[in-house]
Point group: C2
Chain length 420, copies 2
């Protein structure tokens, strides 16, 4: 009997460790070559399946695959593409089945966040709804840390570490300059709906006066007067003020701070940047000299300062996904289960895709301090283990040696797909 082949794809915004999950999937498939045939990776996520662009991972050396563990970004390309429901776009599912059949694919591993687990959940129903049984396992990934069931999401720990360290370093800088120059520093971090990443900056706040002096969460309605008074007090008491702001920070009426109504010289609405808005507000109202930074992609791709715990968990969920598939599971996702805070221990559990898809886990209210601009001890207990340990990539000539795969496509067997 010919072994069934497998399909793996990366989906949504990539992270510093999504390739570590890919490494876990691929190495575990290779170890089980008596049970699983070839592993194809979708070129640009699920699009690779629709367009029959299947990267033949068997053509990559063991060394290249091992190097994925320390390489950021999505080595096979990712995509922002959500399958519609069976009813809305049956042709897409028919196409998937056509491609899976043509390449004898019986396993589907989908590496992504909430939207992607929804896609994985739909694919897991191909047997029941369309008569093409396929083993479908989700692999969790998102810097937003907003998936339910799992204690944390691979990708988050490394961003958390990067933001905590960057806040610490930039604060040492501004503290040095504050007497005669910059007194306020604003760092914008990712998080449109949930303040997990911003909260991580709070880990460096260990005694009174430590930065960050204010964190602005999407979960807490922004109160301008209260915030400005707090900034003023920080500058007066500590000489400076470091602020970490989530891109999704908003007023009580739901208006984003970033949507400040600015227009450029051409009359176009300015897109972006809550950090400059907050900085300008402070300058206008309090007169303090400021600097601001927007970390953007730098934060989620900073593999050079990844959390070791995060890398290990990312690998583990990839490995577990294959093991679950081989054990006969379907429509599940490996989840990280915390078994102890101190010392931190964890194990891999199992979540149903139906429980995970499209659910967004926000920062619990008891993680946010009373004034709404800091984090509680409970939050620190949760966050601290996730940034533990370093896992530096190898360096050559001063630069990290990141993997470059050859990404050769398997020969096409079908006609070109025309999306609706």
């Amino acid at each position: 009997m010919t072994l069934k082949n497998a399909f793996y794809a990366q989906s949504g915004g990539v992270t510093a460790v999504i390739n570590a999950s890919a490494c876990g999937v691929i190495e575990t498939c290779r170890k089980n070559s008596d049970k699983i045939g070839k592993l194809y990776a979708g070129r640009n996520g699920i699009l690779g399946a629709l367009y029959e662009e299947l990267i033949d991972t068997s053509l990559e050396s063991d060394e290249s695959i091992a190097a994925l563990k320390h390489t950021p970004g999505g080595a096979f390309g990712s995509c922002r593409y959500k399958l519609k429901s069976f009813e809305e776009n049956q042709a897409e599912y028919e196409r998937l089945i056509e491609v899976f059949k043509a390449h004898n694919i019986g396993y589907f591993f989908y590496n992504g966040g909430g939207d992607s687990q929804d896609t994985a959940h739909k694919v897991s129903q191909l047997g029941e709804k369309m008569g093409y049984p396929i083993t479908c396992i989700g692999v969790p990934k998102t810097v937003d840390n907003d998936l339910p069931v799992t204690d944390c999401c691979p990708g988050f720990g490394s961003v958390a570490k990067y933001i905590a360290i960057s806040t610490q370093e930039a604060s040492l800088d501004v503290a040095s300059m504050a007497e005669t120059s910059t007194k306020v520093f604003v760092l914008e971090v990712m998080g449109r709906h949930a303040g997990w990443i911003a909260a991580a900056a709070g880990l460096i706040n260990q005694e009174a006066g430590d930065p960050p002096h204010a964190i602005l969460f999407p979960e807490v309605a922004f109160e301008k007067e209260k915030f400005l008074a707090h900034v003023d007090l920080s500058v007066k008491e500590y000489g400076y003020c470091t602020i970490v702001v989530s891109e999704g920070a908003k007023y009580a009426d739901g208006t984003f701070l970033a949507d400040c109504g600015s227009i450029d010289a051409f009359g176009h609405k300015q897109l972006g940047g809550v950090a400059p808005v907050v900085a300008q507000m402070i300058k206008n109202e309090l007169g303090y000299k400021y600097h601001w930074a927007v970390a953007d992609y730098l934060q989620r791709s900073a593999r050079h300062i990844a959390s070791k715990v995060d890398v290990e968990q990312a690998y583990a969920v990839g490995q577990a996904a294959v093991e679950f598939a081989l054990a006969g599971d379907n429509a599940v996702m490996p989840a990280i289960i915390r078994t102890s805070d101190a010392p931190y221990t964890w194990k891999i559990g199992k979540a149903q895709l139906s429980e995970v898809a499209n659910v967004e886990q926000k920062l619990p209210s008891d993680f946010i301090s009373e004034n709404g601009m800091g984090i509680t001890e409970k939050a620190k207990t949760y966050l601290a283990p996730l940034i533990q340990g370093e896992d530096f990539p190898p360096f050559k000539n001063g630069l990290p040696m990141y993997a470059k795969l050859s990404n050769q496509l398997a020969s096409k067997k079908l006609d070109t797909f025309e999306p609706k």
Copy 2:
């Protein structure tokens, strides 16, 4: 005979390695305790001398001083404050002499960039002009890499490494996303007048198609049509485009790109950010989805990914400053002399402060590629050695263990200073 005491101060924008220079100065003074008395550090740079706020470094343990070598920011506080000429503000110089006399200070070490070396040069003339002989040695520091005589400036190598790595990492991210989402990524880096930092991003461009696809230097007049055509071509050929832009990028008429005439909802002129301006221009003209980042203080404080060469040079110039002083030099600055490109070797030479003060070294035109948006092999030969090697700080609980000094002030002996 009582030994003369010494004064050390940090000046101007701080760096990831200015404290490594402080460490070099302090440790070398400690080794020569038979020749130099106490070492005082100015609280907030030269202001510490004017206000008689002298940090007694002898109260810090050897361990704390050693930890400065891996701690970013300015441990004693820096300042942006330029002494006027003797003629314009003689009272300031009289005050310096008063403080130096009161604390028996015979050595002055000033750690800064071009403006600061001007201050150091003026102080070196106190003997000749005001009858208070003092040994004055400059210690080079600036992320801008714009000091003359010295081959490079401590602080630059670490920013260069950070920017090269961040550009590489973010490019892997955008390359993964480009098929269905972000196609253009813009990273803004420091450099108002000189493009050294932006140039460093070019180190990751090793073969055709490698990022960054365009670098915008302050030295090259921005040509909108040419730039947009280049971006469009990159997206079409490689699927995405990474752009690194100096904050000081400008049009031929001298207008900064950042000064785009935007006003906010309150009618205030928007300050800042050339990255969003470039990104918005691309969106408006070419329609590509973009992301942008502004590294700001993150880049110059990123001690976690400092260049080992840079740390060693920063320490060496601090050490050499004290050795020069003890050898009887005055009005000089240790300079880094490159003795070979490959293998990279260097030694410490000597520059006259009169040659260094107020001179700005721009990126040579033969470092910039023909199209004005990349760097040449010659630039790579110069830049590559400066980012060599890693010198990670020690970590605890996932965060770097940065030094916290007690910074205790020596007892004041004089009346309060009232600046003019």
